[in-house]
C-alpha cells in the first residue's frame, strides 16, 4: 500500500503505530484523542495485538512500563490532564530505561482546562515532566503526514535509546483529515531481540531486572550520569527541524499547529516585501539548536509564536543567547491564533519592535 489515503489525524497516527510494530496499546478515554484508543481497540486484535481500556492513565502508563519492559513495542495516548497522571510512570520508564511511546493531544489547561488545541504542555514534555533528572525525546509534528512519520521514528528511537518518547499534537491535528502515505508495516518478530527484557530466564540465563531503585547515593548518581550521557548523544544526533526561506533576515519560530498558521502569515508578509522565514522545530527535545545556528549569523530577529503564554520561547532565547532580539506572541486556553494576528506581530518585529 503506497498510495495516498485520506485519514483523520488520530486514526492515521494509530495505524502508523501498528505499522511500526506496536502491538500493545493501553489508554483511558479523554477528548480530543479518543479516536486513537477506539481505532486500536478494533485494529490490534486483527494483528494479534492487545488493547486494554485501563482504569486510569496511571494504570495505562504502568501497563506500558510492563509491556515495554517485557520487550514489546507499546504505546499509550491521552490529553493534558491524563498526561499529568502519566508522569510518574514516565519517570520510572526513563530511569529503568524502558522504551515506549506516549502521545499527548494537548488541550487547554491548567486544571481541567478545555478541549481546544493548545501547546501549554511544552514545559512538561521537554523538561522531563515527572520527578528526577531526566528527559524524554519529544516530537511536535505539524501535519497528519508528519504525525505518521514521527510515530515510526518514535518507536525506533525509543528502542534505540531505551527511553520513553513523547509525541505532542493537539485536537486540531488529531481531528483534521489530510491525505497521507502510510509506511510499509514492520513485523515485530523481525525486530532485533532485546536481551535486557523480562521474558523468563528459561533456566538458561541469569535473571534480568527492570528497576529504578538505587538506595546508594553514589549508585543513583552513576545511573543519572549514564542517562545524561545518553541524552547528550540524543542531542548530538537526533535534532530535527524545518527551515522555510533560510536566506531570510527575520524568522518566526513555531511548531505543530501554530507553525501551519505562521506559514500563512509568513507568505503574506513576504508578499508585502518582508524577508521572513520559518524555523519549525520537529523535535522539541532535543531542541534543534543546530538549525538556529545555521541562520543566526544573518538573523535580525526571531518571533516565537505558541499556543501558550511563553514556553518554547525560553528555549529559543537560550539558543539565540542574546545574538538577536527574540519576541513572543501567544494565545492560550484553546484559543488558536489567526494568521492576521501573527502578521501584525511579524510586522512589529520587522519594524524593530522585537524585544530581547
Amino acid at each position: 500500500m503506497s498510495g495516498k489515503v485520506l485519514m483523520k489525524g488520530n486514526e492515521a497516527l494509530a495505524e502508523a503505530a501498528v505499522r511500526a510494530g506496536c502491538r500493545f496499546f493501553f489508554g483511558y478515554p479523554i477528548t480530543p484523542q479518543n479516536e486513537i484508543p477506539e481505532y486500536m481497540s478494533g485494529r490490534l486484535p486483527e494483528v494479534g495485538g492487545q488493547f486494554i481500556q485501563a482504569e486510569s492513565e496511571l494504570a495505562a502508563i504502568n501497563m506500558v512500563y510492563g509491556a515495554g519492559g517485557a520487550g514489546a513495542r507499546a504505546m499509550t495516548s491521552s490529553s493534558s490532564p491524563g498526561v499529568s497522571l502519566k508522569q510518574e510512570g514516565i519517570s520510572y520508564m526513563a530511569a529503568a530505561e524502558v522504551p515506549g511511546v506516549i502521545v499527548n493531544m494537548v488541550r487547554g489547561g491548567p486544571g481541567l482546562g478545555g478541549i481546544q488545541p493548545a501547546q501549554s504542555d511544552y514545559f512538561q514534555a521537554t523538561r522531563g515532566g515527572g520527578h528526577g533528572d531526566y528527559r524524554t525525546i519529544v516530537f511536535g509534528p505539524a501535519t497528519v503526514q508528519e504525525m505518521v512519520d514521527v510515530v515510526g521514528k518514535a518507536f525506533e528511537l525509543a528502542d534505540k535509546y531505551r527511553t520513553p518518547v513523547v509525541i505532542l499534537g493537539d485536537g486540531m491535528l488529531g481531528q483534521m483529515m489530510e491525505p497521507v502515505v502510510l509506511p510499509e508495516p514492520i513485523d515485530p518478530a523481525s525486530l532485533p531481540p532485546k536481551a535486557w527484557a523480562t521474558t523468563g530466564t528459561g533456566g538458561r540465563r541469569p535473571p534480568v531486572v527492570i528497576n529504578s531503585l538505587y538506595l546508594d547515593a553514589a549508585e543513583c548518581e552513576a545511573m543519572n550520569r549514564r542517562l545524561q550521557a545518553k541524552y547528550r548523544e540524543i542531542c548530538a544526533r537526533e535534532q530535527m527541524a524545518e527551515i522555510a526561506f533560510p536566506d531570510s533576515e527575520y524568522f518566526v519560530a513555531a511548531y505543530g499547529t501554530t507553525a501551519r498558521i505562521c506559514r500563512m502569515a509568513i507568505q503574506e508578509a513576504r508578499a508585502r516585501g518582508h524577508r521572513v522565514g520559518l524555523l519549525r522545530p520537529v523535535t522539541l527535545w532535543p531542541f534543534p539548536a543546530e538549525a538556529f545556528e545555521t541562520v543566526i549569523g544573518r538573523a535580525k530577529g526571531f518571533l516565537t509564536v505558541e499556543m501558550s503564554l511563553g514556553q518554547m520561547v525560553e528555549d529559543v532565547r537560550l539558543v539565540v543567547a542574546g545574538r538577536a532580539p527574540v519576541s513572543f506572541y501567544g494565545r492560550t486556553g484553546g484559543v488558536v491564533p489567526s494568521s492576521d494576528e501573527i502578521l501584525i506581530e511579524i510586522e512589529k518585529m520587522v519594524e524593530g519592535g522585537g524585544s530581547m
Binding site: F24, N62, E88, T198, T199, T201, G202, P207, V209
Partner: protein, 269 residues
C-alpha cells in the same frame, strides 16, 4: 547439579534446602519479620510447579521492594501501587509466562486499590501475593488501611479511631466478589500449621493462573514486630489473637475445577 549437591556427605539426605527460585543472598529484612517466610513459600511453589524459568515477578514499593534481588527469576520493580498494572502489561506480552506481584497492604490496599480491583475485574491471569502486616513498614510504622481499630501507629498515636481514620479494609472479601477473580484466600504466617496452609494457598493462587481461572490472590497475615513494638514471638501471637478475628482465614473463592468440585461436595455433604 549445584555445589550443595556435590558437597553432600555420602549417605546424607537433604531434608531442607534453599529453593532454587530463591537467590542465594542475605535479605535486608528485620529479625522476626515474616517477609522471608512468604518469599520462601513463593519460591518453593515456583520450584514445585517447575515454572521458575517462565516466571516474571513484579516487586512493589514497601519493605519488599528489594524482592527483585531475592527471587531467582526475571523481575520488574513497579511504582507504589502499580504492580498489578505492570504485571498486566507483562502478561499480555507473554501470556505463557507465570507472572506474579508481591505487594504490601499500603501498596495494594491504599495507593494501588484501583489497580488491584481492575486487574481482578479484567480477570487477568496473574498471581498476587498480598502481605497484610497492618502497617506501613518501610516508611516507619504509619497507619495502613488494614491497621486494626485502636492499633497504635506513628500516625494514629492514640490508636486508630474509626471516627477519624475509618475501619480496616478486608481485601479478600472485596476482591472475591469480582467475577474475574479466580482464587482468593487468606492465610497467616503465624505458626507452622498456618504456614503449611499458607503454602497450599500460594500454590493454588499460582495454579489458578496456570489454569486460566483469572486473578489468584493470597493474603498473608504477616508480622512487623519492629513497627508494632513487640518481640518476634509476641508479634506472631498478636496475629492470632488480634488480626485473625478481624481477618478470618479461609478460601473466599476458587474457580478451578477442583475448587468447584469441593464446593459441590460441600453443598451436597
Amino acid at each position: 547439579m549445584t555445589s550443595r549437591d556435590t558437597e553432600r556427605p555420602l549417605g546424607a539426605e537433604v531434608v531442607y534446602e534453599r529453593p532454587r527460585a530463591l537467590a542465594d543472598v542475605v535479605t535486608h529484612y528485620c529479625p522476626g519479620c515474616t517477609h522471608g517466610i512468604a518469599h520462601r513459600l513463593v519460591a518453593e511453589v515456583l520450584d514445585e510447579l517447575d515454572v521458575a524459568g517462565r516466571a516474571i515477578g513484579v516487586a512493589s514499593v514497601g519493605c519488599s521492594v528489594l524482592a527483585y534481588k531475592y527471587f531467582n527469576v526475571d523481575m520488574q520493580q513497579a511504582a507504589h501501587g502499580r504492580a498489578p498494572a505492570v504485571a498486566t502489561g507483562i502478561k499480555r506480552v507473554h501470556p505463557e509466562a507465570v507472572v506474579f506481584t508481591y505487594q504490601g497492604d499500603g501498596d495494594l490496599a491504599a495507593i494501588g486499590t484501583a489497580e488491584i480491583i481492575h486487574a481482578a475485574m479484567r480477570g487477568e491471569n496473574l498471581t498476587v501475593i498480598f502481605i497484610n502486616n497492618a502497617i506501613f513498614g518501610m516508611t516507619g510504622g504509619q497507619m495502613a488501611p488494614t491497621t486494626l481499630v485502636a492499633q497504635k501507629t506513628t500516625t494514629t498515636p492514640r490508636g486508630r479511631d474509626p471516627a477519624r481514620a475509618g475501619y480496616p479494609i478486608r481485601v479478600c472479601e472485596m476482591v472475591s466478589v469480582l467475577d474475574g477473580a479466580g482464587y482468593v484466600a487468606r492465610a497467616a504466617l503465624s505458626s507452622p500449621s498456618n504456614i503449611a496452609r499458607a503454602k497450599k494457598a500460594v500454590r493454588k493462587a499460582f495454579e489458578s493462573q496456570l489454569g486460566g481461572y483469572g486473578l489468584g490472590l493470597v493474603e498473608l497475615l504477616s508480622s512487623c514486630n519492629v513497627n508494632w513494638g513487640m518481640s518476634p514471638g509476641d508479634a506472631l501471637r498478636w496475629i492470632e489473637t488480634d488480626m485473625i478475628p478481624v481477618y478470618p482465614l479461609g478460601v473466599f473463592k476458587d474457580r478451578s475445577e477442583a475448587g468447584a468440585e469441593a464446593a459441590r461436595m460441600e453443598v451436597a455433604g
